[in-house]
Symmetry: C2
Subunit: 222 residues, 2 copies
Amino acid sequence: MEVVVPFSTDRPKSRLSGVLSPDERSAFSRAMLRDVLDAVAAAGGEPRVLATDAVDLERPVTVDDRPLTTAVNAALDARLGESPGDSGPVAVVMADLALATPAALRGLFEGGRDADVAVAPGRGGGTNAFVADDPAFRVDYHGASYLDHRQIAADAGLSVAVVDSHRLATDVDEPADLAELLIHAEADGDGGGGGESRAAQWLREAGFALDTADGRVGVERE
Amino acid sequence: MEVVVPFSTDRPKSRLSGVLSPDERSAFSRAMLRDVLDAVAAAGGEPRVLATDAVDLERPVTVDDRPLTTAVNAALDARLGESPGDSGPVAVVMADLALATPAALRGLFEGGRDADVAVAPGRGGGTNAFVADDPAFRVDYHGASYLDHRQIAADAGLSVAVVDSHRLATDVDEPADLAELLIHAEADGDGGGGGESRAAQWLREAGFALDTADGRVGVERE
């Protein structure tokens, strides 16, 4: 299955601006992107980056500088043909799902076999990943897109499978999400080891560590 | 399987104090508790509340006013016997998992069949639910308990299954979690209908609604 991974080269992770400089946000975003692409490939998907500008990667890249919703709908149009069954399904997976594992992505792909549309909601009502194989499905990433996408599918008479995954629900947008990334990197026993994700390794090398001093888990930077 | 649901009658949800009065926090907590108990029963579990004081419920209640860690370890001692296989497994599920569905809980219970301990991590490194069937497993709910529980299991030579569920990862602690509850209540099509969870219904009747005005999803109260 082709898996489209939208990536903005020019829109830094502004909600991380309190803890990371623009250059750091760019480097960290690319580390997450490469982790996501590797996880997609390990899950049996064929990743293709949908980037707003050229990006240097060892993976196929399509450049489309239009807004996210427009670019993704164009990608769906190009792949899903005019009626169901014209092609196989296509998936769209966000580039900041730094906790995504091959197992979590396989769960998404399997959801797509059971329904016309499988959606992995993000925390806060976003749409972090989906699989669709019917050209009647369209995206609209403004606002609470998970609710909008459920409605779009319902209006088109499409069945929906919801993929319940904490890893896929966690898009890395704000400092608390950095803690989430480090928690799961540490829990999976790859702290500092060769199996550590690029994004977790990048954070550690940038001086970030878990901070549990006040009872809640956050990050500190040395 | 017996499923222990710890519930504090005297410790309100203090991180919701900006949006709910003490009496409201108490009522909302009880609504969530009853939703969790119903979901556990619908998933095939036998719920038992482990409460810090008497609580009026149509379910079995054990009162233990000691701290959470002590009370849960005592409950494990009472149920798991002295060696593996003395009894069936026991589960512990937090009372504020207002998004928990029977399907998500069945995923937890199934995880417990594949490993000595199955853990559903909470966002922020907590331990929102687990199943254990070996008395060598102990809990310690201070700090990043998910990491601690992984370590406790590893030190005891116990295999661990991680249950990757957004619904089980979402304990309702702070205002953003109220939005999460309303998003999924609305997505599942029960907005105002008879199938709505008690907690979601309580929030709506208290005047809460989703607020997507600024691009991010939060709650507003009329």
